[in-house]
Symmetry: C2
Subunit: 594 residues, 2 copies
């Protein structure tokens, strides 16, 4: 167990009253009314500043920049109002609230549309990952901590307070709004419930909003189980899942935790049969993920040096069983391995047949997503440390996310009634881990990465209308592809080598070192402009909320610029990506530049 | 051979006229009058801006900040004058000229005191290392280059022109100055020739100064000889020396190059006898070192990724034979190896006896310097890439440095008449390389590093008068010391292991990986404040010319601050150094933080 001391945030008091145009004042409910709340934190936004606001209610749609443009075009003035936004544009909670604050909104209410109209989605509004007091280094007890008033800390929190509310609560307010009619372009996207919203305000309804919270230092606990490798104990396969939950957490994170525990059980059975992995396997149970990946981020920061050379891969599972359908995201060198393993496990939702059949049938082929998101613990491993990563789950966008309805009841009724999806997750997770830990040569295929990079280049070229040359990237991909092809050939030869003497053992280790280090090549010590913590130049979150692509985040952000530096910045970011790809190519080939 | 395209700088026209108080105007000689100048570049400062100046001559002593304070206290106004400075305070040429420009001086003449009063010391006035157009990345042909007008480029060159002159030429001017008398505190430090200087000006003599130079792109050539390792070809021992010279370069760099070529000859003899090194040996001949370590820096930047995992150590030799006396600098884990090897080579200046005897007698013990300097090609390897490094030479501060007197004649008369010092350099260089390339377990002793860090902490504590706690560093050194002790024990056991099967081979490789990576732990991706290229937090050049210590450069600079942030910055830099030492400790122990 490793502990860190980190700044967390808890609610102390919340209230919300609406005063309608007829003069009546009603309290708006702030938590789920019909579910047991024992031990469940009341709905709040972690790290929201304390504050009160009294003002006219106004509907901000998703709170995107384009929504404010539409409001402005319709003559709606949001300054001084209490804004109501719906979640769902892909913007983080921080971005939504910070954007509202930038437009002069004095407090924000945030709701999520869906089946569970009384569910309230708790969540963090912190910007970035990890303990805000220890940006870039592990927040060990007694170590350096920034002051809470340090601008590097305060800029991570929105400038105005916010609260999550249920869709039902939001509709009480939204149904009463007067003023401008809901713009035509917003209407189509409403789910059924949204029909009640006719006007966006301001006018009709006043809101009296109060949130009080406290930020306080807490000890957080990451828990590890280590199975030491028998031959190469200094190479580690990391399997991780978080342990903290906003409410009952049957899906988030306990479905993942159940699978992790089942893996531990299965591995212990194997060990009783005499098995020991060639490389070390580390099972990780992270704390404080919900506050912003704090447990995993602090650990990655603390171990950055060792992870750089020792981590083979990180395999994350969070909300393992959300419903039907198999979803997997990975860095591309792991594609082949994942596809192979889906052939070896049964589909949990069919009488017979492999997961692979059902999965590829549903997606008309293999569909593996990439990891530019920051919504679970793979983010620090990949985006800060350059460790090849996987994230997987059954079901998607489950409706009780972060609400008090995320309970055992919901799981046995909807999420995974027979628990077969849990079993399948444990199966994939465990088999992938066995390959990564035991295969003499790591099952990494960098040709998939080359293909993927080539596609990104093509998409980018279309986006730029060919106005800016991508030749540096094209040349780098060519180099990377050559290295990947040559490496494949070498691996074939090495795999066929029957002599297991000193020389072969070393040659395989050297090859594995190359395969491990290649992903690190995509890191740049300078990181993304303005977000230096994010070191990976291929995958990472966009900085500009209007960015159109979910790869090459530095280039994507530069494209969104509207100033005169735009073109020069795009060119520079293109060069940086090209150099990153070349670094990866040289790591893969293992040769010095000559 | 690897080529880079880099911005170099050459002189096109220089002239200097003095107008004395009696009205006579005389040209001041700008090159060495009595040596053949065939193929030798006329004296200039590489990257000095072109410009003319006409103004009163003034003597600025070393051009340190304290010298300007003394001048000011004596009522001397230097603004608009042509300044004359002597070299020797440890400031770089860039610092001297930039400092003069900051005080309003319109052009700078720089001379070096010594035996060769007609020698003119050429040199670069660029700030930092490497091609100024490619800061942080390898300047490959066709790659990204900053524009010459980019502020990141122009800030690397002083704002006013400068020229080197001989001491003889300087004395023509200095002997004629009127105005204020030479301050008392400067006089003592004059070498014999300086007695002629009585007054500092301004007044008495006007100078008409012109320098025209051109900056132009040139292809530079690094040349390599690679002896591929038989067992671990992916681990490399690098031996390097530069090849470019300002003049004839008999000492600088050809005495080093001769030794390098002799090593190549000796290794080829060994290879004919059937020897092949276990690890790869790379002999490196760098180009454009004199312009600012450009050849080595571009190569290090280009190969940073691969160097990080593959480079065992870098052993630099530049001015190998300058005269008598053995001088060696190294990162401390190499101390033991160096000491041992000095016992195995003969002292070149004695009838019999080892180098070790003579060296330790002269220094009353072992005297190994450290590598915070940036005056040769070890700097990018250690200070940017964290590769354990060595630099050595016979003789010190040779009087014909960068002048046209650095010739074969000088070498056979003074530098190394019997060439025995060359032979000894090749001997040490080669034997150290053999150990690094062939020892099953690398001959690194990190206890020396721990001792050294402990001493730095003590010196720092004295400097701070105990006003700021060094507890974070003390705790980190404790951790490092424990890791070093445990590693020593492990190495002993591993060395005694007679079983040379797969397991032992891998365990030795794992140990060597730890020994290699430990030095990288001292790197911080954020680098030194304001000088991010310098990543090593233990060794690197000071940023503030008034800094008192030559280790912990980030802390040293923070101590020099005079603003209200001073204490907070010192504390933060202390934390950063502590974390760097902990990173190194964790790399050495090879364990994740648990």
């Amino acid at each position: 167990m490793t502990n860190f001391s980190a700044l967390l945030s808890y609610p102390t008091h919340s209230s919300l009253f609406a005063r309608f145009s007829n003069g009546t004042v009603v309290p708006i409910p702030l938590s789920e009314p019909n579910v047991p709340q024992n031990g469940v934190v009341v709905p709040y936004h972690a790290y929201a500043p304390s504050g009160s606001a009294y003002g006219e209610a106004v509907f901000l749609n998703y709170g995107r920049e384009e929504d404010y443009r539409v409001l402005s075009a319709n003559g709606v003035e949001v300054r001084g109002c209490v804004g109501i936004v719906r979640r769902g544009s892909g913007m983080s909670r921080y971005e939504v609230v910070a954007n509202a604050a930038a437009h002069g909104v004095s407090a924000v209410l945030m709701y999520t549309e869906g089946e569970y109209k009384e569910g309230v989605e708790r969540g963090t509004v912190m910007k970035g990952l990890g303990d805000p007091l220890t940006p870039g280094w592990g927040g060990v007890d007694g170590g350096e901590k920034l002051d809470l008033n340090d601008p590097r800390v305060s800029e991570k929190f929105p400038g105005v307070p916010s609260l999550p509310v249920s869709e039902a609560a939001a509709e009480i307010i939204l149904g009463s709004l007067e003023g401008t009619r809901v713009p035509y372009e917003w209407r189509e996207s409403f789910k059924s419930g949204g029909r009640i919203i006719r006007r966006v305000g301001p006018g009709g309804t006043m809101l009296n909003f109060t949130f009080k919270g406290k930020k306080e230092m807490a000890t957080i606990h990451n828990v590890f189980a280590v199975i030491k490798g028998s031959e190469e104990p200094d190479r580690s396969v990391l399997l991780g899942n978080h342990r903290d939950a906003w409410t009952y957490g049957a899906v988030d994170p306990n479905s993942g935790t159940a699978a992790l525990l089942d893996i531990a059980r299965r591995f212990s059975l194997l060990m009783r049969l005499g098995w020991n992995p060639r490389r070390t396997i580390v099972l990780c149970s992270w704390d404080a993920e919900e506050f912003g990946m704090i447990g995993s981020t602090e650990w990655v920061e603390q171990n950055l040096m060792n992870l750089g050379s020792k981590a083979v891969a990180y395999f994350n599972v969070d909300c393992a069983a959300q419903g039907p359908g198999f979803f997997v995201s990975a860095t591309p060198q792991l594609d082949d391995l994942l596809v192979e393993v889906t052939k070896q496990v049964r589909d949990p939702d069919s009488e017979n047949g492999s997961l692979h059949e059902r999965w590829t049938a549903a997606n008309k082929g293999v569909n593996i997503q990439r990891l530019s998101r920051v919504d679970s613990d793979f983010a620090p491993f990949l985006q800060h440390a350059g460790v090849p990563s996987v994230d997987l789950y059954f079901g998607i966008d489950f409706p009780v996310y972060h609400t008090a309805f995320d309970s055992y009841d919901w799981m046995i009724n909807f999420g995974d009634p027979s628990f077969q999806r849990h079993v399948t997750v444990a199966g994939i997770w465990g088999i992938v881990a066995l390959h990564l830990a035991d295969d003499p040569i790591l099952p990494f295929n960098y040709l998939s990465y080359a293909t993927e990079l080539q596609e990104y280049k093509n998409v980018l070229n279309t986006l730029l209308d060919g106005t800016i040359s991508l030749q540096p990237i094209a040349a780098a991909i060519q180099e990377f592809t050559t290295a990947a092809n040559e490496t494949e050939e070498e691996i074939k030869k090495l795999g066929m080598d029957q002599n297991l003497g000193e020389s072969t053992v070393l040659r395989r280790r050297m090859m594995n070192d190359r395969l491990i280090l290649t992903e690190r090549g995509f890191l740049d010590p300078d990181g993304l402009p303005g977000r230096q913590w994010f070191k990976h130049l291929i995958y990472g979150p966009r900085g500009d909320t209007e960015s159109k692509i979910d790869f090459f985040p530095g280039i994507a952000d530069a494209i969104c610029r509207k100033d005169e530096e735009r073109e020069a910045r795009i060119r520079h970011e293109i060069w940086r990506v090209a150099r990153a790809i070349r670094r990866a190519a040289s790591a893969l080939s293992g040769e010095f530049f000559t």
